[in-house]
Structure formats: structure tokens, C-alpha cells
């Protein structure tokens, strides 16, 4: 990780714009494609000003056609470009699922590396911003179960920039998830220029010997809130922000769980089939004898993400996280 000297205070979404700007500037192969990313600057303004700066040839408004432009992105990627594709919301990636599943993630394997797809797919995801239905899905697990694509998810402006640059430089396809709830909820110093955060590495946000709490994305602030409240009650949490959902940071997970023996996993996706179960599998595989209590999972329910009138009931809350921490402590 190389860090540039100057820094600016920015939000997560601004950090994304900054990363795109940095890479558009650095490599002329970088192209942005997506719906409304040009003049409009994206519905969240993540590409604001970039078309004006780099032209319509680099920042390209596509037809409303996710399979079409992800498929075309694959064609661009095998032919020398580095497409960075915006899916307007993760809940609208499904039409492109076949292209990602059968091609983006497999072309390297299919051709023994002769053709490769160095493509990034950016997608805002998650509930809690009072968006209409489908806009709030958190379906990362349907991509982590797909060999050949990496999945990352920053929770802070600093990580957002560093991970996006790493994703663009990665020789393989990367799904880059953007927690909408964190887009503008906090600001942080972000270095100017280019730096990157290694894909596959988690980030320890709080140190504690009692319980390991593992989470990512928009659940990070909720988890921190719960951990801080627990600290007041003298329960000390090791809080891990996974940052990468495939491949998971096995070593960081194992090390922490072997220290604490107690684990809480927090995510907003459904419990069944959630990435939390992959964390559970790592614990099973690496730390069985260290476990002092069953792992607790605090997750979205096994129900579709509800209409926004109910989303606060669906999403894990600091209260639910605290209860889980207390439960593993009491076991």
C-alpha cells in the first residue's frame, strides 16, 4: 500500500469518484459504462463530473440493458480495455447474472488464461435508505458462490478508494459493492493520488479479548455502536470489517476467534446462505477447539427485504447485535 502525501476529507461516495478519477487519469484503458453515469453523474453522483472531464468516449451512458452492457463489457475487457461498470442498484444486476456467471467469471478458466476479463462491476447495495423495493437487496452471496470473481465491500471512504483502485488493477473480475447507507454518513481523510488496499484482507476496527464480531459494509457502523456499548459494560470486542467477501481473510478470522473463542457475525443479507455461513465454515475448519460458544449470527431475516416502511425491522440493529454478544458471553 503506497500512500500519497496530500489528503482530503471526503465521504465514501466522493472517495469512489476520486478513485475513478485517479484511474481514468492514469490509464486510458479505463472506461466507465452504465446507466445515467454521464451528464447525470449517476443516480448517487458517484461519477459526477467525470464525463465532462474525460469525455463521452471514456464515460459512457449505456442503454438500459444490464445483460447487454455487462456482456459488451466482457468483449471490451478481452479486447484490451478496463471497463468499470455501474449497476444502478445491486437489485438490478440479476438480468446480467448469466453473463457474469457463465462468462465474466469463467473465461480465464475456459481458455487457460488466453482471454481474461479485468472488469469491475460497481453496485450500490443494501437497505436503510428508504428506497423502493428491490433497490435494497444484499445478495452478495450469489456472487461469492461463483468461482472466478472477487467480491469486495468497503465501509469507509479510505477503504472505498483503496479497494476500488485495487479492483480496477486486479487482472480478474471484481464485484465492488457500495453500501448506500454509508455513502454520505461519514467523512474521513482520504489521500490524494493512487493507493490501494489489498483484496482479501480484513481490517481490525476494535481490539478486544472477549468476543470476535465480524461484519462488513453498512453493518460496520451498527456493529461499532454495539461494541462500544458493550465496552461500557466491560465486554471487549474484536471487531473485524471483512472488506473482502471473496476470498475471505481466513487468517484474521481464525486468529481472532482463537483468541476470543466467541463469535458474532453480523450481516444484512438473509441468514440462510449468507456469507456469514462461510465465516462459520472457516471457524469450523480452523478453530473448532477454541470455540467456547456457538457462533451467533445477526442477520437479515429469511424473508425478502421488505418495503421501506418495514426495513428498520429487517435490518440488524445495535440492540440485536448487543443481545447476540451477550448471548455468546453468557453461554
Amino acid at each position: 500500500m503506497k500512500t500519497a502525501v496530500e489528503a482530503k476529507t471526503m465521504t465514501l461516495v466522493q472517495a469512489i469518484t476520486d478513485a475513478l478519477d485517479t484511474m481514468l487519469n492514469e490509464k486510458e484503458e479505463v472506461l466507465l459504462l452504465g446507466e445515467d453515469i454521464g451528464k447525470n453523474g449517476g443516480v448517487f453522483r458517484a461519477t459526477d463530473g467525470l464525463q465532462a472531464k474525460y469525455g463521452e468516449g471514456r464515460v459512457i451512458d449505456t442503454p438500459l440493458s444490464e445483460a447487454g452492457f455487462v456482456g459488451a463489457g466482457i468483449g471490451l475487457a478481452v479486447n484490451g480495455f478496463l471497463p468499470v461498470i455501474e449497476i444502478q442498484f445491486l437489485g438490478f444486476i440479476y438480468p446480467a447474472y448469466e453473463q457474469i456467471m457463465t462468462h465474466a467469471s469463467r473465461i480465464r478458466m475456459r481458455t487457460m488464461g488466453h482471454f481474461t476479463v479485468p472488469m469491475v462491476i460497481r453496485a450500490p447495495y443494501g437497505a436503510g435508505v428508504r428506497a423502493p423495493e428491490i433497490h435494497c437487496d444484499s445478495t452478495e452471496a450469489i456472487f461469492t458462490h461463483m468461482p472466478g470473481i472477487k467480491v469486495v465491500c468497503p465501509s469507509s471512504p479510505y477503504d472505498a478508494k483503496g479497494l476500488l483502485i485495487a479492483a480496477i488493477e486486479d487482472p480478474d473480475p471484481v464485484l465492488y459493492l457500495e453500501p448506500m447507507r454509508c455513502y454520505r454518513s461519514a467523512k474521513e481523510e482520504v489521500p490524494e493520488g493512487k493507493y490501494s488496499i489489498e483484496i482479501g484482507k480484513g481490517n481490525k476496527l476494535m481490539e478486544g479479548d472477549d468476543v470476535t464480531v465480524i461484519t462488513w459494509g453498512a453493518m460496520v457502523p451498527e456493529t461499532i455502536k454495539a461494541a462500544k456499548l458493550m465496552k461500557e459494560k466491560n465486554t471487549h470486542c474484536d471487531v473485524i470489517d471483512l472488506r473482502t467477501l471473496f476470498p475471505l481473510d481466513k487468517d484474521m478470522i481464525a486468529e481472532s476467534v482463537q483468541k476470543t473463542g466467541r463469535t458474532v457475525i453480523v450481516h444484512e443479507a438473509h441468514a440462510t446462505g449468507g456469507v456469514g455461513n462461510d465465516v462459520l465454515a472457516i471457524i469450523n475448519d480452523t478453530s473448532f477447539l477454541y470455540q467456547k460458544a456457538p457462533v451467533e449470527r445477526v442477520t437479515g431475516f429469511d424473508a425478502p427485504v421488505p418495503y421501506f416502511g418495514f426495513e428498520d425491522h429487517y435490518l440488524p440493529t445495535p440492540a440485536r447485535i448487543q443481545q447476540a454478544i451477550e448471548k455468546v458471553m453468557k453461554f
Binding site: 451512458d61 442503454p63 438500459l64 438490478f92 438480468p95 429469511d302 418495503y307 421501506f308
Partner: protein
């Protein structure tokens, strides 16, 4: 191809009937009926925007400018037909008999918003673009299999034509001669993306040629053209002659949704010009005036009536019993699975324990 698909109209911008075939059919009664519907849904739309601004509902998708398309097409339906709207077609849904309260509940994030009045076959608004098009084809095919004369209408925008589901839905319907009308409102923008970046064609109607299906391009701000063309397409459908694609060329005056800022991507003076010239309601007003039948009192009455109806619906929406969180568990399956029972129970316990 553009010249093969001229924009057809019955009434011009000045409220003159320019197609004499229809002169007899356009009665004061019909004009007033359409006028009333359009005024009603326009007032609703404006109220909804202001509710959103006040934080009383969530993000809202306005349709002002598209009233003739929505009213004219919905008015052509029969009681037992099916409607498959998008998030922008609640003007059509209301005209077809949807509950105003429920529509407001939808925009307030409540599931009740997707429940149509008993007996009304109105599907929940499609949020993923174009996905409703195959549904409409399938529901219409079902009517054909049952041997009824019912038909279906699917609403969708210009942007939706780029999705695979548009193509697959139209192909399915054409192969199985499903009694369905594919009603496109070409408002010339998909959020910020203008028509000419969405497709290489100058018309949407011509896409019907890919399915050997009739395709027509009409003035979507001419409520009569919309009404009679939809009626005609529905008749064809009922007679077993298969689907039709209608492109109703129109314009939304305002933002894509209340979360959108159109000044980022287009000059809004176009909207004000169109308001002066091509407004669907104004056009009927001009007809009434041309015929010497414009009656300010009557207009005032219908406006007041609509406003009262809408205020009533808003009150009902706001008086609606607060969300019972249990609802998020209750309709996943007919019978809840153990996961859902367990999660619901735990959640209710936690709620009980105070958060």
C-alpha cells in the same frame, strides 16, 4: 423507418379534430370524462410530490405530462382485463379503479400498496424494468387458454425497450397470439438517458416488425388517439388476433422521481414549452372552448371533487394502522418455514423486550 411510422393523432394541439373519422365519436361527454380523469390524476401527482417533500411519503415517481397516455389507455380496458403497470403508471391504475389510498401506501413503503381492490386485476408496479412484459404475455395467454375475451395491457417506458425482457415478452406473445397490448409511453428519457442514446431507431413502433405484430406510433398527449388506438388493439386481442405494440410519444415535465434533478441532464425549458403547446389537458380545454362548451364552474367542481377525494385518501393513508413488523414474515410462503417461524418469534421477543 420514421416515415413508415408517422405520429398519428386525432386532435391537434389547438383542440381541433383533424381526423374526420372520429368526429362523431368525440362527444362532449367523452371529452369531459377524459378531462375529469386527467385533472384528477394530475392533482394526485402534484399532491404526492408535495407529500414527498414534506416527508410524508418516500421517493415518488411523477407522471405529469403523460396523463393522456395513461387515462386514454386505461379507459379503453374492460372490467375483467389485466393491467401490468410500472412505478410511473398509477395514473392509469387509478383510472382503471385502483385505490388511491393503497397507491399512496405503496409510495409510503407499505405492502398494502400492492394490493388492488377486490376483483381488480392490477399487478403491483414493476420496479425492475421490463420484467412485467413477460408477465402480461403470460397472463394474457392464460385468458386465451381459458377461452375468455379478456385481455391484458402492459405499460413500459422507452428505456424498457432495451431490456431482454421486452424482446422475450413480445416474442412470446406473438408466437402464442396472446391477447395483450404492449403500451409504451415514450417520454423520451430513461432517467437522464435520452431516446437517441437508448436506441438507434427513431421510433419504438417499428420494433413490432421484429415480431410481425402491428406497431403504431401515436401522439401520447392526444387522449382520443390513445383511447381509440388502445381500444382497437384490445379488440384485435379479444378476437384472437394477437398482440399489438403501441408507442405513445409523450413527455414527462418533471423529474424522473423526487430523488432526481432533471436540470443535471436537460434544459427544463423544453418542459415549459410543451406545457404551453402540447399539454394533454389544455388540449381538451381548447376543444371545449372551440366548441363553446368550456365551463369554468364545472372545471372548478371537478377539481374540488378530485382534491377532496385525494385529501380523503391521504387522510386514510396517514390514519392507516401503523406497520406491524410481523408482516415481513407473514407472506413469504403460504405456510411459514421453520426459519421464518423461529426468526419471527425471536424478533417479537426482542421487540417485546424493548429496543
Amino acid at each position: 423507418m420514421e416515415n413508415h411510422f408517422p405520429i398519428r393523432r386525432i386532435m391537434d394541439e389547438n383542440g381541433h379534430i383533424i381526423n374526420s373519422d372520429y368526429e362523431e365519436k368525440i362527444t362532449e361527454k367523452l371529452v369531459k370524462e377524459f378531462y375529469r380523469h386527467m385533472v384528477r390524476i394530475r392533482i394526485f401527482d402534484r399532491k404526492a410530490i408535495s407529500l414527498q417533500r414534506q416527508g410524508r411519503i418516500g421517493t415518488y415517481a411523477p407522471y405529469e405530462g403523460q396523463e393522456a397516455s395513461q387515462v386514454g389507455s386505461a379507459a379503453a380496458l374492460r372490467e375483467n382485463d389485466w393491467m401490468f403497470p410500472t412505478y410511473r403508471d398509477h395514473g392509469a391504475a387509478m383510472t382503471f379503479g385502483h385505490s388511491l389510498r393503497n397507491i399512496l401506501l405503496f409510495w409510503n413503503g407499505r405492502n398494502e400498496g400492492c394490493v388492488p381492490p377486490e376483483g381488480k386485476k392490477i399487478f403491483p408496479p414493476a420496479i425492475p424494468i421490463a420484467t412485467q412484459i413477460p408477465h402480461a404475455a403470460g397472463a394474457a395467454f392464460a385468458e386465451r387458454k381459458k377461452g375468455t375475451v379478456n385481455a391484458a395491457i402492459a405499460y413500459f417506458g422507452d428505456g424498457a425497450t432495451s431490456e431482454g425482457d421486452f424482446h422475450e415478452g413480445l416474442n412470446f406473445a406473438s408466437v402464442f397470439k396472446a391477447p395483450v397490448v404492449f403500451f409504451n409511453q415514450n417520454n423520451q428519457y430513461a432517467i437522464s438517458v435520452p431516446f437517441n442514446k437508448q436506441m438507434n431507431t427513431k421510433t419504438i413502433a417499428q420494433k413490432a416488425l421484429a415480431y410481425d405484430m402491428p406497431g403504431v406510433r401515436i401522439d401520447g398527449n392526444d387522449v382520443f388517439m390513445v383511447y381509440f388506438e388502445t381500444l382497437h388493439a384490445l379488440e384485435r386481442a379479444r378476437k384472437g388476433e394477437g398482440p399489438t405494440l403501441i408507442e405513445a410519444v409523450t413527455w414527462r415535465y418533471g423529474a424522473h422521481t423526487t430523488a432526481d434533478d432533471p436540470s443535471k441532464y436537460r434544459n427544463q425549458s423544453e418542459s415549459s414549452n410543451r406545457r404551453q403547446e402540447a399539454d394533454p389537458i389544455l388540449r381538451l380545454e381548447r376543444w371545449l372552448k372551440n366548441m363553446g362548451r368550456f365551463d369554468e364552474k364545472w372545471v372548478q367542481t371537478i377539481e374540488e371533487k378530485a382534491a377532496a377525494e385525494i385529501d380523503q385518501a391521504i387522510a386514510e393513508m396517514e390514519d392507516f394502522p401503523p406497520a406491524d413488523p410481523a408482516v415481513i414474515f407473514d407472506h413469504v410462503f403460504a405456510e411459514p418455514t421453520w426459519q421464518i417461524r423461529q426468526q419471527k418469534e425471536e424478533y417479537l421477543k426482542q421487540m417485546g423486550g424493548g429496543r
